[in-house]
Structures are given as structure tokens and as C-alpha cells.
Amino acid sequence: MRLALLALLARGPAHGYELKLELEKLLGVAYPQPNVGQIYVTLGRLEKAGLIEGEEITQSSRPNKKTYRLTDAGREAVDAWFEETSDEPRVRDEFFMKLALAASSGLADHLTLINRQRRQYLNSMRELSRLSASEDRDNRIPQLLIEGAMLHLQADLDWLERCQEELE
């Protein structure tokens, strides 16, 4: 979340709650939403690291709020983030570890593990379909996120079929 917050601040100063709302709107319902506390903690750390600068704004009727702006060092960090490629998801997979250890430990059965995992994936897929239908169709960023997650799941399900073919 550190870099997401820095990237949002590249457009101009904002306070914590604004950043939370902006992030929610951008990513949609499917993305795990950071709570406002996490955002404030992260902003505090970023400030300590010199990547952002906070300015206390006095408010008459409400508690003061703090507005943050990106520093030069912060801007460099965001630029570097966009510059580098991201790791592809999961070569490390806990389910695979279970599958690998099922037979040798004698504690679990391959087919049972596969079926249970498949149910989990199918239920997640169903939840994503539901989210996709509930999310505004024209809201492209959240829709793409959901579509990406569904394609990953489809691959996971295909891979379970392969496991079943090989291990049965």
C-alpha cells in the first residue's frame, strides 16, 4: 500500500481519509480494502522516511487534519516502482505443499484434497462473478481486476485437473 499511496499523492496533496476513498473508488469492491487506521500508520511511516511531508490543517469545528504532499524522494520512489516489473504470482503454493506431502505423510488423500480445494476455488469464482455483476460495468479498472482474478482461478482449476489426472 505504501507505493499506492505515494502514487496517489503524485497528483497533489491529500489527507488520509481522502486517500482511502480514492483508493476504494479506483479499485472497487473486490480489492481488499485497507482500513483507515492502516492508511494513517503507513502515512506516518512514509513521512518518517522522508517520502512525504505532512502539514497540520486547523479546523474550527472538527479535529485538525493532516494533509500530505509528495517529496522529491517520494517522487523518485514512485518512478522507480513504475520502472520495475512486478513478480508473477505464486510459484510458492501452500496447497501444492499439502498435495506433495499427502502421500508421503500418509495423513491425507490426494483426491480429497483436490476436491476440497476445487470447491474452495469454485466458491471464490462464484463470489467474483457476483462482485463483477454488482460492480458498475463501465468501471473498467475494478472489472479488469476481477477478470484477472477469475482467469487466475480458471488456471488454478485447470491445474487441479492436471493434478488429478497425474495422481489418480
Binding site: 473486490a30 480489492y31 505464486r90 476445487r118 467474483l128 477478470e147
Partner: protein, 275 residues
């Protein structure tokens, strides 16, 4: 709707045995027991369906998934009478139908079992309207009833203004919607769908998903065969078919399963594509 046409020869004594009305309320709409089907092509015989039991209750939406070659299409063909099982029994609404003749199955498919296929199978030299009205007329509807039914279905499926088009003038997604209208025009008890999105793009796929879901919400019983988990996840129940057998049969959305209590945003852990 009656399950036997007036012209149907009563060649299967067993079909008449379970007296209508005397059935318990819990009688499933579809019941298969020990279905076996072996294909005898070139080379060794391929056992496509190897002893399948399956029960579908009225109003259920069941998806059958599995890798290609698992025999799931063969299973669907057995359920719709397009192929006959080598062994096993099949009941539709309490009546045993696996011994039905081709003619009797044709009547059944016209009135009680609608089918959609991957490649739409529309009659290419008939208009959209005629493709949908034909099965209604064959089932004994008056031309006026058939027209009315066709008009409301096409409107429902977003195909108004396409009545006079020929199938080849339509996109794949549109053709599949016509096929869906044709399958539903006689209000079948059961809708069978064999890879209905298999030749559609992602937009067409979403549309088919949405429509199946909508008809299901109105009470349509559906059995869907698909290798596409996105499509399958719309169903309430997913049967995993593997090597001619049912490997798993799971209700979806029932229990989220143990673990992952703290997963934010429900599927958050999944959507968080490697952070």
C-alpha cells in the same frame, strides 16, 4: 404439459408404471442411475460414461465440469436422449425414459427438455422468427400462440428487430440467444446446455451467463455442461466429471468452508494478485 403425445406408441411398459400423482413430492425432476456409454469408434472402445448416478431437483441449476474428453457431453446427450445408454436407467419426472424410442424422445425434447449446443444448430435457411416458432408449432401451439411466445422471448433476449434476419447474419452471441429462445419456447421442465459459450467471445460468454442466471432465478431447471469454471460458478451445484465418472458433487455458496476467516473483502486474498 403432458409427457406423452397422443400419437406416441406405448412401446415401453416401464414408462407407465410409476402412476402420476402418486409420486412423493420429493421426486427429482431427473434421476440417472448407473449410466454407462461406450463409444465404438476406430481403435479400442472408449468408455465415455462409466457408471453415473445423478439427481437433479426441479429448480436446480447444476453445472457439470471437467476436462475435455471426460465424457461430460456424452452424459448430457444421454440425459437428453440424443444417445442411448448401454447400461443404466433414466427417469424424467418419475417416468422411466431410457427405453424410449427415437420418436418418443423427439416428442419429449419438443415439450419437456430444451437443449442448446455449442454451435447453436439453428436451421440456416429459416429466419430467426421461424427458428423459434417452429418447435412451438410442432408441439401443437397455434400460429398465434407461437408468434406471441416468440415475440416475448426475443424481446426478453434483446433480439427485437432481428426476427427477419437469417442466422448467418447474426453474431455468435446473437445466434446463441436465438438458440436459447428456441429451446425455451415450449417452457421445458429441463434445459440442457452443452458448452453454450464454447464458441463465444468473453462478451458473449458473460451474456449467456447472465441469461442462464436470469431464467434460473425464475425457476428454470438447468443442467449445464462446460469446461469454463466462470460459467460453472453461476450454478448452485457443480458436478466435477472426470474420466467418465462423477469425482465430486458440490453445492456452491452453501458453506464458505473452514479457514480464511480474516480474509478482507471476501475474495480479497485472490484479487490481491501477488502484492
Amino acid at each position: 404439459m403432458s409427457d406423452t403425445g397422443p400419437t406416441t406408441p406405448p412401446e415401453d411398459p416401464e414408462a407407465a408404471v410409476p402412476a402420476d400423482g402418486a409420486r412423493p413430492a420429493a421426486e427429482p425432476l431427473l434421476r440417472a442411475e448407473g449410466l454407462v456409454k461406450t463409444h465404438h469408434g476406430e481403435g479400442a472402445p472408449a468408455r465415455a460414461v462409466r457408471g453415473v448416478d445423478l439427481t437433479v431437483r426441479a429448480g436446480e441449476f447444476v453445472a457439470v465440469t471437467g476436462p475435455s474428453g471426460a465424457g461430460k457431453s456424452t452424459l448430457l446427450h444421454l440425459l437428453g436422449g440424443l444417445q442411448r445408454p448401454d447400461e443404466g436407467a433414466l427417469w424424467l419426472d418419475g417416468a422411466r425414459v431410457d427405453g424410449y424410442s427415437e420418436a418418443r424422445w423427439a416428442v419429449l425434447r419438443r415439450r419437456r427438455v430444451g437443449i442448446v449446443f455449442q454451435f447453436f444448430n439453428l436451421v440456416s435457411n429459416l429466419t430467426v422468427a421461424d427458428n423459434v416458432e417452429l418447435p412451438a408449432l410442432l408441439a401443437g401451439a397455434t400460429p398465434r400462440q407461437a408468434r406471441a411466445e416468440r415475440a416475448s422471448l426475443l424481446a426478453e433476449l434483446g433480439l427485437e428487430g432481428r426476427e427477419r434476419s437469417m442466422p448467418a447474419e447474426l453474431s455468435g452471441g446473437e445466434q446463441q440467444r436465438v438458440a436459447l429462445a428456441r429451446a425455451l419456447v415450449n417452457h421445458p421442465d429441463l434445459l440442457l446446455a452443452d458448452e453454450p459459450a464454447g464458441s463465444l467471445d468473453s462478451k458473449g460468454t458473460r451474456e449467456v451467463m447472465r441469461l442462464l442466471q436470469r431464467f434460473h432465478q425464475r425457476g428454470q431447471t438447468i443442467v449445464l455442461v462446460t469446461h469454463d469454471a466462470r460459467l460453472a460458478s453461476v450454478a448452485d451445484r457443480v458436478v466435477s466429471f472426470f474420466d467418465g465418472r462423477v469425482a465430486d458433487d458440490a453445492e456452491l455458496g452453501a458453506t464458505p468452508g473452514p479457514g480464511r476467516p480474516g480474509r478482507p473483502g471476501g475474495v480479497g486474498g485472490l484479487v490481491d494478485l501477488g502484492d
